[in-house]
Symmetry: C2
């Protein structure tokens, strides 16, 4: 790309104390004002960005990466000698976002201080830095400027927009504002709007800056002093919120009273103090206080909706595929907020996958190598399946289940039968989907929406790579991600006996689905009866009951007759039932409660609450 | 008390901008210097305090209440017209700390700004406020000054020392430094040393104060300005850490964009911002920045020990009874830290009870009415049982168990038999102790240490009131509170079938106890066999298996023979076994696996790791 409006970025142009970003390019839109959501406009407006890899001739391999609060356009090294990028673990040749195949664009955000127009830029009328006169910008405004850049680069649709934290907010926004241009959205460690706890920390940080006497109402650019103390205090608060308690214990507890030998004017009696002082000091060297105010305010004003209904409305126009990733120890953008996003996307009928990565690294997890085997592979699989399509090779993945303590038996006779019980065209939610074996088999026929649920991170990674929409959830908790009557069929295969709240889960299935299909082992199968009756021991068999009594995933033991009693008691209509002898691989007609080792029931007809 | 050294406190004496505390009394020790742990001494030293109720003629009903960071001596109202105290919910006539029967003392801490010697007090040599020349004080120093006060009041032993947060640190310290003077310790929402996360927030707050230009190296007392911004910023950070995320959502989410109409110079775009600004401004009116520095530093330096072994050593000299209370949503002093205290006290052989109160209120929970029915009643029961002794009326409490979904049957035939299996003199840990029925029965005989464990808060409250030492814990998790070989007998009555990790729990019991005693229902009891064999239904009976298969606390189904197999497989020695027909209330000799509905096993002999 070498258009007239492109130039090499020179940091001294418009950004106080910025380090030169060697590979940055800048484009200035002289004649296209950027109209701002909170009023006013910016013109001219410059955006500074870096690119990696090659844009394909069809311009269909571009991935826009959005940075978080203190990031910039330098998302990765351009070559081995280059300065480290902030997401080198994720982006580069062979990395999850593989620059051998995709074209990566990363722009410094509007309001930032790395070349893109921000409070440190010259006001076109006065020629002096905007300072406090820089208008309020929003995440939506950032995205609109990014869109101008993408247009400028001649790309009509992005393969994906990817980002974490404030970058995740931008990614979500892309899916909402420019659905046609956004084939995929990958949002990590983010939220529809931040919690009041997180908001509070931002506010305290801004108060520290605004009340720093050197802030001088934001016009400190020509002064000998600047609000370094306030900005450092804000940065220190931020740093605590980026780490988990566990991570801080790990990092600082051994040398609690041995501060690092750093030159800082801040308290360094404790190890963690020397770290914070150092981080605070280092930050003021590379960041502009006015930009910090502008960007945190944008983060704080971001609000896709308070209620579930508002979020559903927000996402209603989307046509993207979505991948949402949270991290268990992230308390700045806690997982429940990602789950709200997923729930709304599901309710809006969108294609979404979700994983809550078990991590001790806190909010920063999305930047670190520690959990890359999960979150990185999720992104790799997501991008890959956008090219290859679903169940790529036309083959179902190995049906051997994920994880070592699985309850499933290796042969899945019940899958053959389940498929016969679910009519073509139906939408299906598969609870306990594993790598997506049943979903792939269903996909060979015409079907409505197909979605999986699993508790295993590895299953989610595999399913996403297989092109499925899958949600990471625990069947022992409520399936509140799903709305009433959202699916024609909800399938639970060989798992009911491993769920503690059987009644609750059945109710959830019949709330979410018009029909529920469950298969389970029959505890009154004659060899099991015989074992207890004659040997006086808890039945074990080669199938689902092959585990030792003290070490089995199964916690509920019931027969076909017991299940039928429960259905009767709870007014659950049994529409169809299949009784199998899985050893003989045959149907059982005669006294199934004695002769079948596995039963499949199609349920439905319980009064459904009206769909919300 | 009306000694010559006592005077009515006049706030203008030595505390910048303090409100007069109408009922405060002060005593000045002119000739007894207070030697400080970090070096130096203070002389003279004044302590300002309030008292409630009447000291008994034997001076044996005194309870010392220790305040937290921003508290003072005014712990409760002295009369209905009095200004509110900071712990009115807890202290007063009929309250959990009942001033009809106990004599409450609450002193402003050393380093504070409510009359007790602190940085705002006049330096004896210069006559000017100490300011930054005030020496570093520790929680131990605070406690030593409190001890001088208690001596002065003619009290040789305190019935209890009670406090939360920094007050809890003091309470723990009393038990460590003055074991003979401290009959009981009640420590709420506290820790052996604070986490690095909490430490970090304190450090950032101190940095904000120290770098406020108006701090003037601490000598702002005569200046027209003071470091109000820094102190307000510190207070705002503190406030966020005192609340839980849930509590903040509850408080601020509805009116997120409608700030309260408060006069503050701080940002008030958001509702939570107006709250923080108001709290910051209000705090600087009543608190001295130098005191804030001194007290947070004392909190941060407090360190009873890093490792478990160090903590055990710390508590080794204690002779107190201990009650430790944490709150689930407290992230400033998280529950696991209280559990470390309990674990060390247990390992040191001390008498301790513990409850982790399920609360949404965060660290502040211990100050609020919300969870008073649990934490208040725990304190009431603890203080009460110190007078009445254990199992007060000489009667076992009702053995009807706590909670509605109990697994226990109402008649406890197994208790009769268990008592026969545990020799007199033995120390016993009763897992699933309920209100303490078995413990009370054991107490009628001579015994070593008797301790209970239960998952129910109500059970802990009842057991504590019955004078038992009980620990709130989940048998489905590790019992790491207890050390290797700590008890002669560990008893688990009628609960093994409700535990998922049977093998793990048995291993824990045999790690902690020289012997383990378990009772459980026999799944191969003949009527149960018959039910499955003939009716083809999951066995239900009138006893432990009376629950419906889909709604039972039982998750493991096994027979006497199964259990014996497990013991053989895991090299667990069966020392004794008792087989019962609980319907007939008789022992079973003939084919117990067929004819007994309940079995009791005494286990032991698995190689024990040496006691640590």
């Amino acid at each position: 790309m070498n258009t007239p409006s492109l130039k090499t970025f020179n940091s001294s142009d418009n950004c106080r104390s910025a380090q030169p970003l060697r590979h940055a390019k800048a484009v200035t839109f002289e004649d296209t004002p950027l109209r701002l959501e909170q009023g006013g406009e910016l013109s001219p407006v410059t955006v500074c960005y870096e690119t990696y890899g090659q844009l394909s001739p069809n311009a269909d391999n571009a991935v826009l990466v959005c940075h978080a609060l203190s990031g910039d356009s330098h998302v990765a090294k351009h070559d081995p000698e280059d300065a480290p990028g902030w997401w080198d673990v994720m982006i580069g040749p062979g990395r999850p976002i593989d620059t051998n195949t995709v074209y990566v664009i990363c722009a410094n955000v509007l309001g930032g201080c790395r070349g893109t127009t921000g409070p440190g830029s010259a006001h076109p009328k006065t020629g002096k830095p905007y300072g406090r006169s820089f208008p309020t910008v929003t995440i939506g405004d950032m995205v609109k400027l990014e869109k101008m850049l993408v247009d400028h680069l001649g790309i009509s649709q992005l393969k994906a927009v990817v980002g974490g934290s404030m970058g995740g907010q931008q990614a979500l926004c892309w899916g909402v504002l420019f659905p046609d241009m956004t084939a995929g959205v990958v949002a990590l460690a983010t939220a529809p709007r931040i919690t009041n706890q997180s908001l509070a920390f931002d506010i305290v940080g801004r108060n520290a800056i605004l009340h720093d006497p050197n802030f001088a109402d934001g016009q400190y650019y020509d002064a000998t002093t600047s609000p370094d103390t306030g900005l450092a205090i804000a940065r220190m608060i931020g740093h605590v919120t980026y780490l988990s308690r566990e991570a801080m214990t790990e990092k600082f507890d051994v040398n609690r009273y041995q501060p690092r030998d750093v030159a800082t004017g801040f308290e360094k009696h404790f190890s963690v103090g020397s770290y914070l002082g150092y981080q605070g000091d280092k930050f003021v060297e590379r960041f502009d206080a006015n930009s910090y105010l502008a960007l945190t305010k944008a983060v704080d004003l971001y609000d896709l909706g308070d209620s579930h209904d508002e979020l559903v409305e927000t996402f209603s126009a989307s046509d993207s595929r979505w991948l949402v990733i949270s991290f268990t120890s992230d308390w700045l953008y806690p997982p429940f907020q990602s789950q709200e996003i997923v729930r709304a996307l599901m309710a809006a009928g969108k294609r979404v996958s979700y994983c809550n990565v078990a991590s001790s690294a806190g909010h920063d997890a999305f930047l670190l190598e520690q959990d890359l085997p999960i979150y990185g592979e999720l992104v790799r699989g997501f991008l890959g399946s956008m090219e290859t399509g679903c169940c790529a090779a036309g083959q179902a993945p190995a049906e051997a289940p994920i994880g070592s303590r699985t309850i499933f038996r290796p042969d899945r006779l019940d899958h053959d039968r389940l498929i016969g019980l679910v009519p073509e065209g139906a939408s299906v939610l598969d609870l306990g989907c594993g790598a997506g074996g049943l979903l792939c088999r269903l996909m060979r026929r015409p079907h409505g929406k197909l979605v999986g649920v699993d508790l295993s991170e590895e299953a989610i990674v595999a399913s996403v790579a297989n092109g499925h929409n899958v949600v990471h959830a625990d069947l022992n908790k409520h399936l509140s991600q799903f709305s009433d009557g959202q699916f024609d069929y909800v399938v639970l295969s060989q798992t009911l006996q491993a769920v503690r709240d059987v009644e609750g889960l059945l109710a959830e299935m019949l709330r979410i689905g018009k029909h529920a299909v469950v298969s389970f082992p029959n505890f009154a199968y004659w060899p099991l009866r015989k074992m207890l009756a004659e040997e006086g021991k808890a039945p074990e068999s080669s199938g689902l009951l092959r585990h030792k009594w003290y070490d089995t995933p199964n916690v509920r033991f019931f027969s076909i007759a017991d299940f039928e009693d429960l259905c009767q008691e709870k007014d659950i209509v049994i529409r169809e039932s299949v009784y199998l002898d899985t050893e003989a691989k045959s149907d059982v007609v005669d006294d199934p409660n004695l002769n079948a080792d596995l039963a499949i029931f199609v349920l439905g007809g319980a009064p459904l609450a009206p769909a919300s």
